[in-house]
Amino acid sequence: MSRAIAKSLTYGPLSVLAALTMLPFGWMVITALKPGDEVMTNPPTWLPSHLAWENFPRALSFFPFDRFLLNSTIVAVGATALQMLTACLAAYAFARLRFRGRGLLFVVYLGTLMVPQQVTIVPLFLMMRGVGWIDTFAALILPSAFHALGVFLLRQFFLTIPHELEEAAVMDGAGHLRILWQVILPLSRPALATLALFTFIREWNAFLWPLIATNQQPMRTVAVGLSLFMGQYGTEWHLLMAAATVTLLPVLALFLLAQRYFIEGVALTGFGGR
């Protein structure tokens, strides 16, 4: 008896809190499926009278959301690929190779983790404008692909891999690239997955820099596109929620598929995805 009470005292409030946390997403979907004239009624209707799926094609027709989604995909995939490539190489050098200036250079990398991105946006904007890169993928991808976090995270992970595992490859006369590719990287899958996911999500969610680095509608990312939509149709909540749902779906799908790596990544670094 007392055990049942204790159980419900633990699970009851916890479930209510979890449901409350999910509620904004639920209300988003409900609103997105309401016919337009049922959104602002008094007294309110809690559920739609019928599911207004037509809200989705309508919302997406005001702005080229397919293009925004494509742009965001290109930017997030491009930045992630570039970040992975450069960070793997640099992290290997920091973790495995001896060279002059290694300690100092690593401290410089670490020090920039503290620098807020906002300090760099005015010069970056002037730079991109100077070389005519406003409204290009280069401007959207390059500034975020060299974050020191990637090098730091992978170096820490590479350091935990025992040297003995490389010895056979060294005996065979393998160069550093082959050791990295055939020995280190296959053993680093969890760290690589974590870094890739965090970079992808960070880029997919990015707002301030894409807002500044683009002017032409065809180059907008999905987050910026959504803010433009809000600016023009600010009270059409059923359409706005339909667009928000479309923006969130890829991230939610990715998160549900790979949640283990997100959770482990937070525990591992405490940095990514903030």
């Binding site: 633990t10 640099a90 001896r98 969610n205 301030l208 991230v251």
Partner: protein
């Protein structure tokens, strides 16, 4: 050993001989520089140079379309007299003071709760963590709708229990609390997962020993869990303060800094000056004030760390 082997093997071609003459250490060094080069080049061009340039630009009157001219520290002097900027600093501070303790209490409480060998822990953790990974612009839009004074879910709920709902985002008194509430919802899951990882690192044997000695659950929480979790808590507080100083997306979407500048934050002010009024020098000066604040917070907290953080288990 390996070097001499290389020399003998490569003796046939002149290039290999030349390479063989480089000592093993030199070649390792060369490889290291080549490996670091792509990362370092990008790092310098897109981070170090802009960072330093930003300080330089802050010394100029630079209106984008007019040629810049040097004005020394005048931008910083103007900032000191700028009453909107004073408001902006105060707003950012209010936001931080409102968000950080709430975030830590909620995330720590839930982590301790979830750590009591519950079933479906993963499911709860998933639900609480979900807002963290979502697009801030999209969820800010959802919350703007939730806060709608007439048809928003929050005021509908308040109405059901007979409470009058305020005009959340257009009332200068309620706009900041509304922004903070949304941000707590968006961010607490991150620290909760961090704390859960920390809690799982505390050996069960300590609790068992304390229980045998007659410690109550409350005493175990205050005497064991919290002291042993203090490194994680310290880290979480520092990182949450730093990210609070940089709040932008939700303020831009939900209030645009209004009403009457009540939710104008430092980064929003950088954006407005730099990319709405095109005052490059002034925006850079604000950015460096932000940087300095973050630097100071980091230093102060590093000092404080030695005093109240307990590292040995």
């Amino acid at each position: 050993m390996a070097a001499s082997q290389n020399v003998s093997l490569g003796a046939a071609s002149p290039a290999a001989v030349r390479r063989g003459r480089l000592s093993l250490a030199r070649r390792e060094e060369l490889a290291a520089y080549l490996f670091i080069l792509p990362s370092f080049a990008g790092f310098v061009i897109f981070l170090i140079v802009p960072m330093v340039a930003s300080l330089g630009i802050s010394l100029y009157d630079w209106e984008l379309l007019v040629p810049p001219h040097f004005i020394g520290l005048d931008n910083f002097a103007a900032l000191a007299k700028d009453t909107v900027f004073r408001q902006v600093l105060l707003n950012t501070l209010t936001y931080t003071v409102g968000l950080v303790p709430t975030n830590i209490v909620v995330s720590l409480g839930l982590a301790v709760w979830l750590n009591t060998r519950l079933r479906w822990v993963n499911l709860y953790r998933l639900a609480f963590f979900l807002p963290v990974v979502t697009v801030t612009v999209a969820v800010a839009l959802i919350w703007k709708w939730l806060y709608d004074p007439f048809a928003g879910l929050i005021n509908l709920g308040l109405h059901l229990i007979g409470l009058p709902g305020p005009n959340w985002l257009s009332d200068p008194h309620w706009a900041m609390p509304a922004l903070i509430l949304m941000s707590v919802w968006k961010s607490f899951g991150y620290n909760m997962v961090l704390f859960l990882a920390g809690l799982q690192g505390i050996p069960a044997s300590i609790y068992e020993a304390a229980t045998i000695d007659g410690a109550s659950p409350w005493q175990r929480l205050w005497r064991i869990t919290l002291p042993l979790l203090s490194p994680t808590m310290f880290f979480a507080v520092v990182m949450t303060v730093i990210s609070s100083f940089q709040v932008f997306d939700q303020a831009y979407i939900m209030t645009g800094g209004g009403p009457a500048n009540a939710t104008d934050t430092i980064v929003l002010y950088i954006y407005q000056n730099g990319f709405q009024f095109f005052r490059m020098g002034y925006a850079s000066a604000i950015a460096w004030v932000l940087f300095t604040l973050i630097f100071i917070v980091t230093l102060v907290q590093l000092r404080a760390q030695n005093r109240w953080v307990q590292y040995d288990a």
